[in-house]
């Protein structure tokens, strides 16, 4: 009964105007894997947040990104006795999703800088295309991403512009044609719209 009462009270305090939907285009560059660590803009980020206080937002997020890198023709020593000569087109696809929290550094009506963190899981698939073939490995891992950003509301709270920069780390482990990847880091920025 107590739980029911708390839930009912929470529902009574629910305010739809405190819900924000953010849809961002993102630029992302994987770091340190040397697999497809080239900046690309083939990704999106989605966030659904609720302002529990004027300073604090909590919510859920999901994003996806693809990075490609072309490697010219070279001879690879893939074992002590095996060699392979080919060029490669590498593709790294990442889909993190989970929960997030953000602290607004200002409660200004038109401009709110914030710091936040996202945490959850990430699906990763790394593919190497060569000649008429493709090799891929996929894995799940834990994901964490600190972020700084700015919410700009030109006309008040009706809609806004979202700008953010982030770093992320995921524990995914994948094997590719030439290397083992143990953990994936990324940096990037997002530009989007707030509803």
């Amino acid at each position: 009964m107590l739980l029911l009462g708390v839930s009912a009270q929470g529902f009574a305090q629910w305010d739809a105007s405190k819900v924000d939907l953010k849809i961002d285009w993102q630029m992302n560059a994987p770091l340190s894997t040397d697999f497809a660590d080239k900046l690309s803009g083939w990704g999106m980020n989605y966030e659904l947040t609720y302002s529990i206080t004027p300073r604090w937002d909590v919510g859920v997020f999901a994003s996806f990104h693809t990075n490609h890198k072309y490697i010219g023709r070279q001879t690879l020593e893939i074992s002590p006795t095996e060699s392979l000569t080919t060029d490669q087109q590498r593709s790294a696809f990442q889909v993190p999703f989970g929960v997030m929290g953000a602290f607004n550094l200002s409660t200004n009506k038109h401009c709110q800088p914030y710091i936040g963190v996202k945490a959850g899981v990430m699906f990763a698939r790394n593919t190497t295309y060569y000649a008429s073939r493709g090799l891929y490995d996929k894995a799940w891992g834990f994901y964490v991403s600190p972020e700084i950003g700015l919410k700009i509301y030109p006309t008040g709270k009706h809609w806004g512009i979202h700008v953010a920069g982030y770093y992320s780390y995921a524990t995914n482990q994948t094997r590719t044609l030439t290397m083992n990847i143990d953990g994936q880091s990324n940096v990037g920025f997002r530009l989007g719209v707030i509803f």
Partner: protein, 205 residues
């Protein structure tokens, strides 16, 4: 304004998540793979027997490719073996005297694909406007050709082969798309050169 923004974003949400890489960036050369037996003494071999045809395995019968294109590929292998200090035995009656046998096989394959009304084709999403993609109201089919040249070196001096089979001491394959004609022949010849280049251990003392 807000509805327009939302519609534009919905179109982005509906678009495919994963971006395909530009496969046209890959060059046309065949991928060349080699492996060898670390127990083989390539320096001790002196002679080799190389047939004047290339085996083409089929589902029911094997065929022997013998025209001038086949001879051009065989000639490349012969030139590489000779440059490594080996001597070719050409008389089939004397092939038992050879240290190693070099056999070539060629496999050409056509892959047919029939799509279920959707084809993740060449045009980027968004090119024709803010649509989520496109579809065919009828099945669409396409095909592509690939080919593989296999080179194997068999040790004919392995007298201790207890199960009466000869060990393959060197294996190479070159595979990729089949472009046909003289261009494809040149790619196959280049692949033979590459297979030997990445196998420096094939050398007579």
């Amino acid at each position: 304004m807000k509805k327009l923004l939302l519609l534009a974003c919905v179109a982005l949400v509906m678009s495919a998540c994963e971006k395909d890489p530009d496969m046209g960036e890959l060059d046309a050369n065949l991928a060349v793979y080699t492996d060898y037996d670390t127990g083989a003494d390539f320096g001790a071999y002196r002679t080799y027997f190389l047939p004047d045809s290339i085996l083409e395995p089929g589902s029911h019968h094997a065929y022997y490719w013998k025209d001038e294109n086949a001879l051009a590929i065989i000639g490349k292998v012969e030139a590489q073996m000779n440059s490594r200090g080996y001597t070719r035995i050409t008389d089939p009656e004397k092939k038992d005297e050879a240290s190693v046998g070099v056999q070539l096989s060629y496999i050409a394959q056509t892959t047919h694909v029939v799509t279920g009304g959707y084809f993740g084709g060449w045009w980027n999403y968004g090119f024709w406007g803010p649509w989520s993609g496109w579809y065919y109201p009828y099945p669409v089919s396409y095909s592509y050709d690939t080919n593989t040249l296999v080179m194997e070196m068999v040790d004919l001096t392995a007298s201790d082969a207890s199960d009466n089979r000869l060990p393959v001491v060197w294996y190479a394959n070159a595979s990729g798309f089949d472009f046909g004609g003289q261009y494809n022949l040149r790619l196959l010849e280049d692949a033979v050169d590459q297979a030997f280049e990445q196998s420096p251990y094939i050398k007579a003392n």
